[in-house]
Amino acid sequence: MIELQDITKVYRTGSQSLEALRGISVKIGKGEFISIMGPSGSGKSTLMNIIGCLDTPTAGEYVLDSDKVAGLTFDQLAAVRNRKIGFVFQNFNLLPYATAWENIELPMLFDGKNGRRRRERVTELLNAVGLYEWRGHRPSELSGGQQQRIALARALANDPPILLADEPTGNLDSKSGEEIMAILTDLWREGRTIVMVTHNDHIAAHSERTIRLFDGQVVA
């Protein structure tokens, strides 16, 4: 259960300050499939980062599964990102010096899972995204679509109940995009909460509900 109450985010650059989010209140229930849409600069990524505990709001309250996020320590937040939330970035954000396998394994390593469980899970995920043969390759040796599938597998490593995806198909051709969407839809059917940012109505059509942002505010 994600509950945002009157969330504000102000960016300060030098003497200027920019209000990227102005009083956003959103509730996302367990098992929902939400898409967030809005023009460029409307604050979609800012909102996603706050939901994903990658960033902190300037004001307002964020309650995640009845925990006030603002009250969590650095390492408690790390644990939330590790187990509860899988995050898929538009630009993949894979570790360049790690192989596909290592990239997927890493969240489990950080969680302290044992070797056998990790091996089984990485194998399972690589097969699910159809990239088992590519397990020894580094991100730079993979196509954009392949990298995004590895990133998705990594986000799922610890089997998180929530999956956040910021324009997961933004950098991909439509075929790769559809593949990703098919996987996301399956994951939602399995009972996961999915929040996705997109510019594409066609992609958004996969979701149950769309939140529209304009100039840092929810418009619909």
Binding site: N49, G52, L54, D55, T56, F74, D75, A78, A79, R81, N82, R83, F87, F89, N93, L94, L95, P96, Y97, A98, E102, E105, L106, P107, L109, F110, D111, G115, R118, R138, R154, A155, A157, N158
Partner: protein, 414 residues
């Protein structure tokens, strides 16, 4: 895979980028250590060469009075005699060792060869004061040789070479002024930068009483005195002057009645010069270290900053602060240890190889100062400590900072 193994695998893959840092550390270590080793070596060699003549040594010679004394006219010659040795020793408690010395230029022959060399008569204490270290298999004159007036001789290594070539002279006879002596020791090679009558390599030493049978002059050339403490050299000199003045009837302050060669006072001046050189080298070293440290720090910092984005990724997928810091810490320590280690090994070997170069003990030149670099533990410890702290700060500071901010800030870093 475990976390350390993951750290290792990441490190190995980016090793090429760390190579520059490793090299910088290697090079910095090498140059600093060599610079310091040469500086240290020069200072040590100076001390060694000074002690080639003798350590903390005061030499007393006779002279001629330049002042009248209690009705006696000036211009009287003052000579020293063998009994002055005990006379001084009994009256000056600060004297640790004292020895008479007489010498003459005499014919020395052995092995069918004939040469002319300065031959000295002295006692066992002379050997200790004048660093007469025997080569293996031989010895300097001892108390029994002196007491019994044994016909034995201790010779310099050049005398040995001139008379016996490469053969060991110990136990062989040599003839001095037609009197046969047995060689009991040969002086080990040493560097000697100050001397009277030429270098010790060219001298022949006999027990005092045996010498007196060849040279029947009663007066002796000089007396060697070693005070208990180097700091007492001035007091000893003053006491000896006063005592001799009383005995031989001259004004103690008369500079010409007796003359003194106080190596302790000389050494103080020499040491001041070398202290100056040492400080100068230390300063250069410190500046080099500073430049090197700035370079290394900069490189480390740049690399660590470059990796800020990676830190962001790791934080985003749930790495705890400790994991991030651990990785940077281990990598920094490893790269630092590697660079420093190879630098140290190389410097050590360079020093070792240079030290293999022979020094020409017969014409004591600049090479004696340059070819004997040496390490001192302090140099290494000080160097490692300073650079270690800098490396640590530069390598780990960006990681510390990144692991305190929101992951998104590190992720945005380009």
């Amino acid at each position: 895979m475990t976390l350390p193994r993951f750290f290792w695998s990441e490190y190995r893959k980016r090793r090429k980028r760390a190579a520059l840092i490793t090299f910088a550390l290697f090079w910095g270590t090498l140059s600093i250590l060599l610079l310091m080793a040469f500086g240290q070596g020069m200072t040590t060699q100076f001390q060694v060469s000074f002690s080639g003549l003798g350590q903390t040594l005061i030499m007393v010679y006779g002279g001629q009075t330049s002042l009248p004394f209690e009705g006696l006219p000036k211009g009287r010659p003052i000579s020293l005699y063998p009994e002055d040795v005990d006379y001084l020793k009994d009256r000056v408690p600060e004297i640790l060792r004292i020895a008479p010395e007489s010498y003459n230029f005499l014919q020395v022959s052995a092995n069918g060869k004939e040469i002319n060399r300065t031959v000295h008569g002295t006692t066992a204490e002379f050997g200790l004061m004048r660093t007469q270290v025997p080569r293996m298999g031989g010895r300097f004159l001892n108390a029994a040789d002196v007491a019994q007036g044994r016909k034995v001789a201790f010779i310099g290594w050049k005398v040995a070479a001139d008379l016996f070539g490469s053969a060991d002279p110990v136990g062989k006879p040599i003839v001095i002024n037609r009197i046969p002596f047995t060689v009991i020791g040969v002086l080990q090679k040493k560097i000697q930068d100050s001397m009277y009558n030429g270098p010790d390599a060219e001298q022949v030493y006999l027990p005092f009483h045996a010498y007196q049978q060849i040279d029947n002059r009663r007066r002796i050339n000089q007396i060697h005195i070693q005070p208990r403490e180097a700091s007492q050299s001035k007091i000893v000199e003053a006491r000896v002057r006063t005592l001799l003045g009383r005995k031989y009837r001259f004004v103690p302050d008369d500079r010409y009645a007796t003359s003194f060669w106080n190596t302790i006072e000389d050494a103080k001046q020499g040491q001041a010069i070398f202290k100056g050189i040492e400080i100068f080298l230390g300063l250069i070293g410190a500046l080099t270290l500073l430049i090197g440290a700035v370079g290394v720090t900069n490189l480390m910092y740049a690399v660590a900053k470059e990796r800020t984005k990676e830190i962001g990724v790791k934080l985003a997928i749930g790495a705890r602060r400790r994991v991030i810091i651990q990785q940077f810490f281990l990598e920094t320590v490893f790269v630092f240890a590697k660079g420093t280690f190879w630098g140290f090994i190389t410097a050590f070997n360079v020093v070792h190889i240079i030290r293999l170069a022979p020094i020409n003990y017969d014409s004591f030149g600049i090479e004696a100062y340059l070819l004997r670099p040496e390490f001192s533990l302090q140099i290494f410890v000080a160097y490692t400590a300073i650079l270690g702290v800098l490396c640590f700060l530069s390598g780990i500071f960006p990681a510390l900072r990144a692991s305190r901010a929101n992951p998104i800030e590190s992720l945005r870093y380009e």
